[in-house]
């Protein structure tokens, strides 16, 4: 390998990206665009509507509470047993639940749920209006701090993964195809420059663009929506770097033979759309039918998204994400080996 060749090639690759305003903007603006559109569209503030839980009970007070809260505007009541309510609370589907304790009430609140305080205030107001200000009912409040989960917190790691995926396929892979079509690869083949230098320059160029993508999604998320990574930031970064390796090798594999940019575009769009849906970028995968969930578990995009979300939302450690990392590593090896076998210069 010749270092100056790698550097010069990487510089050229970077310039093609940096000096092409549409490519530059596309990579940077797409995640921000989705973040803004979906972040505000699904921000819970827009609804002023809270789903809360109530433990099923047989006492008169329980029945009274149930009918009172069920008819309150802005509240949606889920009645269930303790176990299901706790699970709903942990899944962030409800910010709080109530249960009767003798003549009083007990309220269990997830303090980190963005709707927690607002829902609680609405419950307080409802009770006070009903019982009157003086003779208010005793209430014990238990405050939990569960990991936060707004839609935007769910969305941002997904957008990062998607951006890394699509830039690899449309960037790295497409550049290979058009360079082959335009005989640039053939011209290079007539120089002593080694093929390894060329591939390495593509990988380096990809990581330069990665730095930008990563920063844009991270800064955009934290400035606009105060997104933060619950777990270790280093793990979050490391998993992203892992993902880029996988997707770059996938991009090189997709671009290893084709000369026709139109056909390549179609193929990649198909791949992108289907995996994007299956990997649950926009919506949680547990809404999907079971067979679809199973199918999507083997996809590299799913592995990356799941790992990023676990670290960012649940604060999971890197070791707990080893299964996902193994999936990514397997794809990297398989794609690299197949690309090496299939690759042609012209």
């Amino acid at each position: 390998m010749k270092l100056t060749s790698v550097i010069e090639l990487t510089k050229c690759r970077w310039r093609e990206f940096r000096r092409e305003p549409s490519a530059f903007l596309f990579v940077l603006a797409m995640p921000l665009f989705w973040m803004l559109i979906l972040g505000f569209a699904f921000s819970e503030d827009a609804f002023e509507h809270y789903k809360i839980g109530m433990l099923a009970g047989k006492t008169e007070l329980s029945h009274q509470m149930e009918s009172l809260l069920a008819h309150q505007k802005g509240l949606e009541l889920v009645v269930g047993d303790e176990e299901s309510l706790v699970s709903l609370l942990h899944r962030n589907e409800i910010p709080l639940f109530l249960k009767t304790e003798g003549h009083g009430l007990s309220l269990t609140l997830n303090g980190t749920h963005p709707d927690g305080e607002k829902a609680r205030r609405l419950v307080d107001e409802t009770l006070q209006t009903f019982f009157g200000h003086v003779e208010t009912i005793p209430m014990r409040v238990e405050r939990l701090h569960l990991p936060h989960a707004r839609y935007i917190d769910f969305l941002i790691p997904g957008l990062l993964a998607l951006s890394l995926f699509s830039t690899s396929l449309f960037g790295t892979g497409m550049v290979l195809v058009s360079s082959r079509r335009e005989n640039l690869l053939k011209r290079f083949a007539a120089t002593p420059m080694g093929s390894l230098d060329y591939i390495v320059s593509h990988i380096l160029g990809r990581y330069l663009i990665f730095v930008l993508e990563f920063l844009v999604v991270l800064l955009g998320g934290s400035l606009l929506f105060s997104f933060r990574v619950e777990g270790s930031f280093l793990s979050y970064l490391l998993v992203s770097i892992f993902g880029v390796a996988t997707f770059t090798s996938l991009g090189i594999l997709c671009g290893s033979r084709a000369r026709n940019t139109g056909a390549y575009n179609g193929l990649v769009n198909l791949l992108l759309l289907s995996t994007m849906m299956l990997s649950g970028i926009w919506f949680p995968r547990h809404h999907f039918p079971l067979w679809m969930q199973r199918l999507s578990e083997g996809l590299p995009l799913t592995a990356l998204v799941d790992a990023l979300r676990a670290i960012a939302i649940e604060g999971a450690g890197l070791t707990s994400q080893i299964p996902q990392l193994i999936i990514l590593a397997t794809y990297t090896v398989v794609c690299t080996v197949s690309a090496k076998i299939l690759f042609r210069w012209y």
């Binding site: 100056t4 310039r15 093609e16 005989n183 011209r187």
Partner: protein
């Protein structure tokens, strides 16, 4: 034998290239000596690019051997690539890179490279060095591609249709550039479908047609061998009905006319005895009061050689494209 071989920069024997059904290159043998410019002349589809790419190590010949400065691609590919400069027929380099950045890129591929500023001014690109490739004209781009092929001070330079598709003015500038690039130690192998280009630049011309070499010699040598003497022709002052009768009458009395080619209103001949034949024609024509109008006499050119060897005019074969 050995000493003779090492004096060749390029020596190719019996090259054959097949693409499924087409025989693109059919037993072609070529050589280039130091200081020599060899042009492979032929119409589109003759097999020039296929030949060129085999010599550049980009295509593997189905048969035949190639030796570059005594080295072969199978064993010394990298070594050869250090020694040659290549300009492909159709290439797009990085569009967003500037002229200087592009040359820097190519310079980084070689062990030693030409001084950039010297090369920029030699190729008249010095005031364009900061312009991006997407903003260059066709002629400027071509000059840059030639500059890229010169970056490693090649012993042997391959130029595949260096001036194709350019306007006459830009074409002349490229010819001037190639003329400058000639050096006593360097060999140039270029392909072209322009007679003028081959005539102007080449010390030796190899005429290629349908995959085969029809002839190979210096332009003067080719003319001497295939079209010695001069070319002359005439046309008759006759209506369409009487024309063929008059032509037959002339042929009867002037048997050498059978060697000529019938043109629209008359005949064209390549001959060593042009002036004698012209006299005979005038005599016979006067006897029968056949009006001869427009009579011309010129030196034979490569065009005539091409016509003689292939039965076609080079520009005719291009009208299909």
């Amino acid at each position: 034998m050995n000493t003779r071989e090492s004096t060749f920069l390029l020596q190719a024997e019996n090259l054959v290239k097949r693409y499924s059904t087409t025989l693109a290159v059919d037993h072609v043998s070529l050589y280039v000596r130091p200081g020599e410019c060899v042009a492979l002349l032929g119409p589109n589809g003759a097999g020039k690019t296929s030949t060129c790419e085999m010599l550049e190590g980009l295509l593997t010949p189905d048969e035949g051997t190639i030796s570059i400065c005594g080295l072969g691609y199978a064993r010394n590919r990298r070594e050869i690539l250090e020694l040659i400069g290549v300009q492909l027929q159709e290439t797009q380099l990085y569009k967003k890179a500037t002229v200087r950045e592009t040359l820097q890129l190519f310079a980084s591929f070689y062990r030693s490279s030409e001084d950039l500023n010297g090369l920029l001014s030699a190729t008249h690109l010095n005031n364009l060095e900061n312009r991006r490739l997407e903003a260059l004209s066709g002629g400027q781009k071509q000059a840059l591609y030639i500059a890229c092929s010169l970056i490693n001070r090649p012993r042997l330079l391959f130029l595949d249709e260096p001036s194709a598709g350019l306007d006459p003015e830009a074409r002349r500038r490229i010819w001037a550039l190639i003329g400058q690039v000639k050096q006593s130690e360097r060999g140039i192998f270029l392909t072209t479908h322009y007679l003028e280009e081959a005539e102007k630049l080449a010390d030796r011309v190899a005429i290629m047609f349908e995959g085969r070499l029809a002839a190979q010699d210096s332009p003067a040598g080719l003319i001497r061998t295939y079209c010695p003497g001069a070319v002359w022709g005439f046309s008759l002052d006759a209506s369409a009905e009487t024309l063929s009768a008059q032509r037959d009458y002339l042929k009867l009395h002037l048997p050498w006319l059978h060697h000529g080619v019938e043109t629209q209103g008359g005949c064209e001949l390549n001959s060593l005895e042009a002036s004698k034949q012209i006299q005979e024609l005038t005599v016979v024509a006067r006897q029968k009061s056949i009006g001869v109008h427009s009579l011309y006499l010129r030196q034979s050119t490569l065009e005539d050689v091409f016509l003689k060897l292939t039965g076609r005019r080079l520009d005719e074969t291009h009208q299909r494209h």
